[in-house]
């Protein structure tokens, strides 16, 4: 059997890319190292609300078994010494609740939500395009430029100005211009720091915050949508769409090298030594791995290797799964519905920033910033910022201790727990630095220079070699965006 294309790495983006190529009539093979596809989606992710609606439609994922649930509550922000604040899908309802915290903040919230939606809509459109070339040959690239201009023109002039101002801002400043209460500011700003190595005072966290709401109905509170039978169901649905279109999936097959012959991609070599041929290889793994480990140094050249080696991948997120023997009781929460969305422990801007400070110097904060969800009697907790090789037990203890402050007694109801530190994420999913976004979503690795300038159009160094994972524009998260954009470019060539 010969293939037109190999997708190396079967995370959700790799699967999306494979499905789209197969639907276009290409013979596609997905090669995945683990025993199942889905990558991080497989048992690690919780919310999937960033998934592109157009992709769900195009791949008919609902027919392939995907069912999404959107609870009315988006986020419950736990506070220090105060009742939690609920952020609902309906901004008006959120404002009603905020009135008890601050009248001014309650008034500001719906306007802020609308502002976030306007800016995020632009980023949503940006996410769909292939970044333009920025070199002298760029004149031929009018299509991307035109789409960009059209999206930009849809902004009113005030929003256009605000956009250029907001993107490089620190999230703490962005929310600080709207809200007076520290707890409200922190709850809204924290998302700009999630999965990153940047505290809320770091420039560019507003871009991360807005990107999280781009192309979905997240708004200020952020998206909260679940796949009803778990995130793996999403991976299964995409895989099913891919195989139904004729793609072949091979698991437990680890790619070791990209084969290049005569200056063109020729296939991949597996760790077992087996070689598989195809004129196109699309990589769903992180770009640093591809460029510094999979590609022959001679083919990459010293300059590209240097640049690829400098792609920043500071993994700083840990995940702690807690199986609970009974439903947790949070102080001040009487309605179980309140616990149906994201539960956020980010009680103050400085509080979150201090957790980041510890990590900067290689330490682990006693008071991490947490985002948790509860499903099927398990609590799924993300913890920021965790050093790469932190002791998993210490991280687990810390997370439970933090939760204990808000849900006294929760510790004794933990029946079982699993901890993934960045080092373990790196080991289990093969991601450089254990960075779940494959490359830091900083301003320096954004859009037309993600992962690096000159390689942002999904084509890497050698003809036939492509990037289709989160290290490519529009970046990490369960969006399917990089996979979809990459497939479009592969088909165009």
């Amino acid at each position: 059997m010969s293939y037109d294309a190999i997708v190396a790495g079967g995370g959700h983006n790799g699967l999306v890319c494979a499905a789209l190529l197969a639907r276009a009539g290409r013979r596609v093979l997905v090669v995945e190292r683990r025993e199942r596809t889905g990558g991080i989606l497989d048992g690690v992710v919780s919310t999937v609300g960033r998934l592109r609606p157009a992709l769900v439609a195009e791949l008919e994922l609902e027919r392939h078994g995907l069912e999404l649930a959107r609870p009315p509550i988006r986020m419950l922000a736990l506070r220090e010494g105060g009742a939690p604040v609920a952020f609902w899908a309906d901004p008006g309802r959120t404002a009603e609740g905020l009135a008890a915290v601050s009248g001014a903040d309650a008034t500001a919230y719906p306007r802020f939500d609308a502002h976030v939606r306007v800016l995020a809509r632009f980023l949503g459109e940006l996410a769909e395009i292939t970044p333009p070339r920025l070199d002298a040959g760029a004149l031929g690239d009018w299509q991307a430029g035109l789409r960009l201009a059209r999206a930009y023109r849809r902004l009113d002039s005030r929003s256009a100005r605000e956009l250029t101002r907001a993107l490089p801002m620190a999230a703490a400043d962005f929310v600080g211009e709207w809200f007076a209460t520290d707890a409200v500011r922190a709850a809204l700003a924290a998302r700009g720091s999630l999965f990153t190595a940047m505290g809320p005072w770091s420039a560019g966290t507003t871009a991360v915050l807005l990107a999280d709401s781009a192309g979905n109905d997240g708004g200020a509170a952020g998206q909260t949508a679940f796949a009803t039978s778990g995130p793996a169901a999403l991976a299964a649905a995409i895989e099913s769409a891919a195989t139904a279109a004729g793609a072949t999936i091979r698991t437990r097959a680890e790619v070791a090298r990209v084969l290049v012959r005569g200056g063109r991609v020729h296939g991949v070599a597996l760790a077992s030594g087996e070689e598989i041929e195809a004129p196109v290889v699309a990589c769903g793994v992180d770009p640093k791995t591809v460029l510094t480990r999979w590609l022959d140094p001679e083919e990459a050249g010293p300059r590209l290797r240097w640049r690829a080696g400098n792609i920043r991948t500071p993994g700083a997120t840990a995940v702690v799964d807690l199986r609970l023997s009974g439903p947790p009781a949070f102080s001040g929460v009487d309605d179980p519905q309140l616990l149906a969305g994201r539960i956020v422990v980010a009680p103050g801007i400085d509080h979150v920033e201090r957790a980041f400070d510890c990590w900067k110097y290689g330490g682990l904060s006693e008071r991490p910033y947490l985002e948790a969800t509860i499903s099927d009697g398990s609590m799924h907790v993300l913890a920021q910022w965790v050093p790469h090789d932190a002791d998993p037990d210490a991280v687990g203890d810390l997370v439970v201790a933090e939760l204990e402050r808000h849900a006294p007694g929760i510790g004794s109801s933990v029946a079982d727990r699993r901890v993934l530190t960045p080092a373990l994420i790196e080991r289990d999913f093969g991601l450089s630095g254990g960075h779940v976004y494959h490359a830091e979503p900083g301003l320096d690795q954004f859009f037309a220079w993600r992962p690096v300038l000159g390689l942002a159009r999904y084509r890497l160094a050698v003809p036939g070699l492509y990037l289709c994972g989160s290290g490519a524009h529009p970046g990490g998260g369960v969006t399917g965006g990089p996979g979809q954009n990459a497939a479009r470019e592969i088909l165009a060539d």
Binding site: R153, R161, E162, A203, G204, G442, L453, G454
Partner: protein, 529 residues
Amino acid sequence: MQERYDAIVIGGGHNGLVCAAYLARAGLRVVVLERRDVLGGAAVTEEIVPGFRFSVASYVVSLLRPEIVRDLELPRHGLAILPLDGTFTPLEGDHLWRLNDHGRTVRELRRWSLTDAEAYEEYGILMAQMARFIKPILSAVPGDQGRIRPAEWVSLAPLARRFAGLPRRQRDTFIQLMTMSAADFLDQWFETDPLKATMAASGIIGTFQGVRSPGTAYVLLHHYMGEIDGAFRAWGIPRGGTGGVSLAIASAARAQGAEIRTEAPVAAIDVRGGRAVGVTLRSGETIEADAVLSSADPRVTFLDLLEPGVLDGQFAADVRRYRFRGSSGKVNLALDGLPEFTCLPGRGEHLRGAISFSPSVDYMERAYDDAKYGRFSRRPYIDAIIPTLVDPAMAPPGKHVMSCFVQYAPYHLADGGAWDDAHRQAFRDTVVDTLAERAPNIRDLIVGEQVLSPLDIEQRIGLSEGNIFQGELSLEQLFFNRPVPGWARYRTPVHGLWMCGSAAHPGGGLMGAPGRIAALEHLRSRSSR
């Protein structure tokens, strides 16, 4: 006494003076009104301790636009820039010393790291290329990104074209410089910690950011900007202190016919029928003019000097959110002799350049962390120079002045604290302790001193919240967003009222660019009327 001018310039800082000089040169009748009894604003020399003259605030020149020096013939008006050679970083038991002499610097770096010594050369060449690329931006007029009309983007077109034409490597570096933190950027090149810390320090001067904060890499270029202007020495200390620059510009302005008044604080900008028609001084005197150009910062200009209600609510709100957040202080010392560093004893050449207290990246970052939470750094970054070693006239024979620029000293203190005498004293002691750790004899040498907290900078120099650049030079306050999105072209919503100080593009520093561009824009608008 009613006089009528073509233009009034508010503020006799170096930008106001540059602006006035260009206007006068074009034949306008101009008057400069300065609040204080001395000219110069933040570029000012004053005899604080009898016999000792201090560059009270700014202390080195690196960015003064060469076209201004040429157009205004500043050397003829007394401007002389004396060389400041090298940067000396004292450490515990060792030091890092870079000089203008490239060979010596590379030899010194080899002591630390062979790869760094090699990378240093390549780095220097690349940075000089980048500085050359950036330079035209410093004299460009930003467009309005809120409009899609192609005309608004014209200011970017030549830049975009030049960018597209750059070799890949330089394009890459430019984007990194605009978006990365100084520390991350340097991490790609070097491994020597004190080297990275000392270089990164230039990225945080005057900002409320740390060396690891994204967006700080860009300022690394400034250091190279001055050096590329070949003929004229643009990097060093002005003879007579930084006030020497202001006085030379003032002399040039007067020679062109501009009138300059000190002790003439403006109390209000007079607006009639939506037009600025003149100003009223605190004394009650009114002065009329066709146009008013203000080099005071936007908070002063729009919120203090205009009647409430003149500005529409949105613009006023945008001015209010413009960020100042001063983060620097200054300690000027009158010394009986020269400090002696334990790590390199003697009175050698190492004292003739910048002396940088920046031993490691973490040290710099911790200094920032203190400020983030509202206190001055327990161990601050200090950039010290001893001007008397190149300009002995600044002090009595055998005596010296030492200028210490200190970061961080946040304007807003935690827990409602205020910059009172006790705080200022504690800040001063921290600075002297930090100096004394490396040069223990310093304590015995001090015969006089001046300590400026950010509040002092606000009150004395007139810079809101003590921000040395009239507003933070963070990415969101640059180019077409400086100082207010949509109003980056020196004009304001009030007809006839213009901005010409550091709060306008391209921002702060002893550069003169905002004053010059504002004058040229104003002249252009007059001729097209």
